[in-house]
């Protein structure tokens, strides 16, 4: 089965001032650095990582919201346009975004029903307002909103209901790809679970493909088929969800997982890593993770590990992956 979304060597550099001064020289900030992945139709790819790792930028690049510095994005075999012209708009019909914060992504002064109808107007779908309204109302029942809420304003709805409106607005164009950027992070646990279930249901009934961006490993684990773990703009590990959570191989993935607070008593003390994610403007040499890595060697300080396959559909970017079944390419030499 050919991949539905094919991302190759995706790189995005922003030009930022190196210092606080108005005239300090500009340096490139590598928000996304050589990221490649592919997605089959109907599949969910989870993207996890801490703040500033480039996961949201990746999502925006996939939608063609901005132009990548290097790399290519193919949607169903055709390159994603980044010039915001008619071709891009036609393409955007096929891919939509579900945003994190439903309050700031809804118009406070427009009834939510009108906001769901708006994409249809923009793309000139449907011949009359009545027809558009009918389509939007049908979606209201799909996402579990009452028909009488069509005329409500965002402030009259709860957080979960607003997130449903966001989802309805994304679905109204019958897209094939949804980029979900932290869709449940702003919601309470019990309501977030409802939205996650809804996303799963909609995916099944409509055959949607998801790029699911989240920092919440618990949620990603429930939703994604495959997961990529990002750190400072690079993919450090990619695997099927089950395998990744059963046996994380990259030290960063392991640290990330052991940092997730658990309700059950731990058999052993969690392995915590020191320090915080570094400033993307000062990316360390060699392996980007080495200053925080418990297994870092001299090699890690100088040579950047490439993402390499260690099993079928499983790759890791590490000189010393923490798995006994994987033979380390080089001998582990500690500093």
């Amino acid at each position: 089965m050919p991949s539905f979304l094919e991302v190759q060597g995706l790189t995005k550099h922003f030009s930022v001032r190196s210092g606080a001064g108005l005239f300090s020289p500009r340096i490139p900030l590598k928000a996304v650095d050589d990221v490649s992945f592919s997605l089959k139709k109907g599949e969910t790819l989870g993207v996890v990582g801490e703040s500033g790792c480039g996961k949201s930028t990746t999502g925006r690049l996939v939608l063609g919201m901005m132009a990548p510095t290097h790399g290519s994005i193919l949607l169903d075999g055709t390159a994603v346009h980044t010039r915001h012209d008619a071709v891009w708009r036609a393409q955007r019909q096929r891919m939509q975004m579900v945003y994190q914060d439903p309050v700031s992504f809804l118009d406070r002064r427009l009834p939510v029903g009108r906001q769901v109808m708006e994409p249809l107007t923009v793309h000139s779908i449907g011949s009359s307002v009545a027809e558009r309204r009918e389509k939007a109302e049908a979606l209201f029942s799909v996402v579990g909103l009452r028909p009488d809420q069509f005329a409500s304003y965002p402030h009259e709805l709860s957080g979960g209901q607003r997130q449903r409106v966001i989802l309805a607005r994304a679905l109204v164009l019958d897209p094939e790809l949804l980029v979900c950027d932290e869709p449940v992070s702003a919601l309470d646990v019990s309501v977030g679970a409802q939205v996650v279930n809804l996303l799963k249901d909609v995916q099944l009934s409509r055959g949607l493909t998801y790029l699911f961006i989240s920092h919440d490993l618990k949620i990603v684990r429930q939703v994604a088929d495959r997961v990529i773990v990002m750190y400072l703009g690079r993919i450090v590990e990619e695997a099927a969800t089950q395998e990744l959570f059963q046996q994380p191989v990259h030290p960063y993935t392991r640290a990330l997982m052991s940092a997730v607070p658990s309700l059950k008593p731990h058999p052993q003390r969690r392995l915590s890593i020191q320090g915080s994610p570094p400033n993307p403007m000062q990316v360390p040499n060699g392996c980007v993770f080495h200053p925080r890595c418990p297994r870092a060697s001299k090699l890690c300080q100088t040579e950047r590990p490439e993402l390499r396959n260690i099993a079928a559909n499983r790759s890791v970017a590490c000189h010393h992956p923490e798995d006994t079944t994987v033979s380390s390419p080089r001998k582990l030499e500690t500093i």
Partner: protein, 343 residues
């Protein structure tokens, strides 16, 4: 856990908070009884709007005039709700300190970390500025900020969110308080940094015997860090239990619902068992149990009678009409999990 033997540090009885709104007064906190033991970490969990933060702001008496607080808050034999404002000001910071969710915005952006810390120290301990600065450096060392000397001259925007939260903790420690109220101290932070901050809080408790109230919406955070867990729903306590074995022993339908809605990282993958409906707005006052509309095991009497906190085991009480009579029915112990963590 020392809450049983010695007298508790803080005793809250029937705490109620009423806010004035254009539709009349709204009762946000509807009668809370809570003890905080000496040297104890008490976790307080609940969804947004359940009154978990408001109740502690009410204890500190910082809610302003539109709020009316009733009940008693006994701290060393004195009712904090009765003392004069001047006396209360002496309690704040020195005896009871608070850290908030977003440390970066709670710090003053136009002053250096060093100045802000020293200012607090001068105010609380009545020491000179030069010794305050030395003390500030010691405090930064205590909360494990590397390069403390250099940090003193930096501004909040130059530091990361995690470091700012450490500074906020250092500032809270400056008055040597007996009780530290940590309101969602890690919600804005990444998981790896969150783990470090939680560890720091536990260490502070170990070293100084300070009591900590940890407010969070994340059961996992609270469970890992605290000794006891109190679950709040719609302005009332729903359950109170020791955190060890909490995921197995919790028996209020709401607590169980929360546990099911956010499965742990080692539980089976599948459809999430979400709690239907949503948290009632504080203005919706209904008779009976506030959770009955979303409850899967509600009885007809649940809509009439408001359940009180009833002990069901040692240090474990539940506010559910189902619980004393037929507690077994609502206890759904999850499937035995064999491997707790993959490593």
């Amino acid at each position: 856990m020392q809450h049983a033997s010695v007298a508790p540090l803080l005793q809250i009885r029937d705490l109620r908070v009423r806010l004035q709104s254009i539709h009349g007064p709204i009762e946000i906190v509807r009668g809370i009884d809570l003890d905080v033991g000496r040297g104890e970490i008490l976790g307080l969990v609940g969804e947004s709007g359940c009154g978990k933060s408001i109740s502690w702001l009410a204890v500190l008496r910082v809610l302003g005039r539109q709020a009316t607080t009733t009940g008693t808050v006994l701290f060393e034999g004195r009712n904090l709700l009765d003392v004069t404002e001047k006396e209360m000001a002496a309690y704040r910071g020195r005896r009871l300190a608070m850290i908030v969710q977003d440390a970066t915005s709670s710090l003053n952006p136009i002053h250096t970390i060093g100045f802000q810390l020293a200012e607090t120290l001068v105010h609380h301990r009545r020491i000179g500025w030069s010794s305050a600065r030395t003390e500030a450096k010691r405090l930064l060392d205590r909360v494990k900020i590397p390069g403390a000397e250099r940090r003193l001259g930096q501004y909040p925007h130059e530091l990361s969110g995690g470091t700012n939260q450490r500074v906020a903790i250092a500032m809270a420690l400056s008055g040597n308080p007996d009780l530290l109220i940590a309101d969602e101290p890690t919600t804005a932070l990444d998981v790896t940094v969150q783990a470090q901050i939680l560890e720091l809080l536990q260490e502070i408790r170990r070293d100084s015997g300070m009591s900590i109230v940890l407010i969070s919406h994340d059961l996992g955070v609270v469970c890992e860090t605290s000794d006891r867990i109190a679950v709040m729903y719609a302005g009332r306590l729903a359950e109170m239990a020791p955190s060890s074995d909490f995921w197995r022993s919790a028996r209020h339908p709401y607590t169980r619902g929360l546990l099911d809605a956010a499965p742990d990282i080692d539980e089976p993958i599948g459809r999430l068992r979400a709690i239907p409906g949503q948290v009632p707005a504080p203005s919706e006052t209904s008779r009976g149990c506030a959770f009955q509309a979303r409850c899967g095991v509600a009885l007809p009497s649940c809509s009439v009678e408001t359940p009180a906190m009833t002990p069901v085991a040692k240090h474990h009480s539940v506010a559910c009409l189902r619980s004393p009579s037929c507690g077994r029915e609502i206890v759904q112990v999850p499937r035995e999990v064999t491997a707790c963590h993959p490593f």
